[in-house]
Amino acid sequence: MWAKILTGALFLFMLACAIYIDPVRDRSLLGVRDPERARLRLMTWNIGYASLESDSRAHTEDLKAVAETILKNSPDAVALQELTGQEQLDALLGHLQQRYRGAVCGFGSQDRIEAVLVKGREARFEEIPGGDRYALGGVFRFQKEGPEVVLISAHADAFNAARRRSFTGDVVDWARARSPNQAVFIAGDFNFELRARSQSNIYTDNIKHDSEAYSYILKHFRDLGRDAGATAINDRRIDYIFGLPEVTLLQRAEVLKGTAVGRMDHLPLLVEVQL
């Protein structure tokens, strides 16, 4: 009988331990607040539709809602992905009541393009070649005394991990070649499949390509939205904003839930940093 009682007691003890010990995350990327320093707000958003739709690019009828989200959160710069062309950018700038300036990159071999918007400031834009597609960099000055800010809007291939890796390498190398006086941020939809918690596979080449691409970025940049949660349907975190660790103090990272309209499959990621 004693053995049964002991086994039962051990069972209850283990159960109590499992309930009592909460496996919470115990560290955060947030830095210490400095009320004196101004905060830079950056947003990235793939406004295209899920790939099952007949046209998975951004839809012009959604741009009003996109503009409302941007105006409501008032980011200093926005990286957008999957626009159909210059006309959509013009329509969006119109909905934004010309408070933002913007540009789009070239198409390359793609049928969709990326854009960068900058709020109320002088800005210049540069195309960044990466394999058969382009990313776009927007350069602007956030504060008179502070460093120039460069926000890159990038969209890596959704279906081929090796192409994602090559593209990421090109974008990171372009970013690293910027002047040390510039604060560079890489934002966009990288489609990396890195789900450390889901453990859904043993080992694949695709996972390894994504791992090497992501690790290459993290060699030089910091993943600012790491704790913000999923940014796309099926609980995927595939939209990122990376910043240089030596100049960026993260204050807030948030995925803006409930903002997707139509059949969008991504949510905007907003980060707030001090330089």
Binding site: A3, A18, G169, A196, S211, E212
Partner: protein
């Protein structure tokens, strides 16, 4: 109880399946060696395809070292290979005696049925630990031939970290030591389930198949992304806690939480097995 343990231990080391399990693990390591060799020839950095095609690869010379080999080998085998041998040993404990016609004889001796079952379970636990320790030890030994260096970890493969990390080689050796115990604890869930089936089914083959069917079914469903909402309810998900010892900073709260859940499964199943076996009408 000690005499009972000694008897069970002698039975264990005299069984062919005991040696078969170790031989299979040796075979697995040989295949891993072959796989690693062909991979490094074909794809790895330092002049391979990857280095020519991409700007960055983490496969430096120091990445492919003996400890990386051991880690990959242990992680790959843990989920699908070692549970087979644990289920085989545990599933045949009672059902094997019943099939051989010796169960009734054992039970009429002046030893309580609870002692018999507990001693059998302890021997299964010992076998599980020996399997883990032997496998880890042999991997480290083979790895030593390539040279031990720091254990570099990257997000994605092995699903261990969310950002690149590193464990110094001497610390990594301790982590392998811990993994022997955490892995054994996780595998005891499978052992306890197999013991229960061994009592219920009275046929060792059926007990082993039933255990593996439940284990593999939950493992597969838990790995399909569509069903990720079901994952928290499967013991196969909780069993993964054993790998936390390979994270650069061990998440102790998470480790103890999931370790306790595994403990609840182990003792819950064992209690059920004890109660059923104690009242069982043995007709063989």
């Amino acid at each position: 109880m000690l005499t009972q343990l000694r008897i069970e231990f002698i039975k264990l080391i005299r069984s062919k399946s005991f040696y078969l399990s170790f031989m299979a693990l040796v075979g697995f390591i040989l295949l891993m060696l072959w796989g690693f060799y062909s991979y490094s020839q074909r794809k790895a950095g330092g002049g391979g395809q990857a280095a020519a095609q991409f700007k960055y690869t983490y496969e430096s010379k120091s990445y492919f070292n003996g400890l990386t080999f051991a880690l990959y080998s242990v992680v790959f085998s843990f989920n699908l290979l070692i549970p087979i041998f644990v289920a085989m040993t545990a599933g045949s404990q009672i059902a094997g005696e019943a099939r051989a016609g010796t169960l009734r004889m054992i039970c009429i001796r002046p030893v309580s049925r609870v002692s018999i079952l507990l001693s059998k379970f302890l021997i299964v636990a010992l076998h599980t630990y020996l399997l883990m320790a032997f496998f880890i030890g042999l991997n480290l030994l083979v790895g030593y031939y390539f040279g031990w260096d720091n254990l570099e970890l990257f997000p994605g493969p092995l699903n261990l970290v969310e950002e690149p990390g590193k464990i110094a080689w001497n610390d990594a050796l301790w982590r392998f030591f811990y993994a022997g115990f955490s892995g054994t604890w996780a595998l005891l869930v499978v052992a306890a389930l197999a013991m229960l089936f061994s009592i219920l089914l009275e046929n060792s083959s059926m007990a082993v198949v039933a255990t593996l069917a439940v284990y593999i079914m939950l493992y597969i469903i838990g790995r399909i992304e569509f069903f990720e909402d079901l994952r928290p309810y499967f013991f196969t998900t909780d069993m993964d806690f054993w790998r936390d010892v390979f994270k650069p900073i061990i998440p102790w709260r998470s480790f103890f939480h999931y370790g306790s859940i595994c403990g609840a499964y182990i003792f819950g199943l064992l209690l059920a097995a004890l109660v059923i076996f104690d009242r069982k009408d043995i007709t063989t």
